[in-house]
Assembly symmetry: C2
Homo-oligomer: 112 residues x 2
């Protein structure tokens, strides 16, 4: 078993997304075989532009306020929101609050 | 995309574990293919007895205080703790605080 506070994992900038950082809190380096857990911080007014990928993702909003966009629809998210994004679905996020929008985001490690 | 507050998902009792409930906040019914996200509530003084399973699990402690045990070692956990339990590793939890110990726990959906 491994046990660590999420904030002890170094935050990495995300290319092309100013104000967005990622921490790989559980990944292949820990021994994970099937999926990874990351924690994202999105600063106030920062955005994650629309993008898509082959893998589904599962998210749990820890703090902050924002808007998630997918399929032309917008949804407000806040602490305790759970999101599931299907494979290949374009999706975007923006922080609409005054505090960091922070969420857990889990993704598969491989395509099979 | 699906978006729901975690607490809108009905809590289910866990057999043989009084004071422990589970919510499947993202699962196969949502379309998840690779892994599921659950939210557990462990009431004060309740325990999850030692058990093991073929799958790894990844956890994020949302609130409360507790002790995680694996491999004969005990670790204190609290809000923001991230745990990774390797496949087949026996592990147990107990709530040592006065409030609910609540955590996100993700597990693979299949063995391949």
């Amino acid at each position: 078993m491994k046990n660590k506070p999420w904030h002890n994992v170094p935050a990495e900038a995300v290319e092309g997304m100013p104000g967005v950082s990622i921490r790989w809190v559980v990944g292949e380096d820990d021994g994970a075989e099937n999926f990874a857990m990351r924690v994202f911080d999105v600063e106030p007014r920062a955005t994650i532009p629309s993008h898509h990928h082959w893998y589904e993702q599962e998210m749990f909003i820890l703090s902050g306020e924002g808007v998630a966009e997918a399929g032309g629809e917008e949804e407000r998210v806040g602490p305790g929101s759970v999101l599931w994004v299907e494979p290949d679905e374009p999706h975007a996020f923006r922080n609409t609050g005054d505090d960091v929008l922070r969420f857990v985001c889990c993704v598969p490690l491989r395509n099979d």
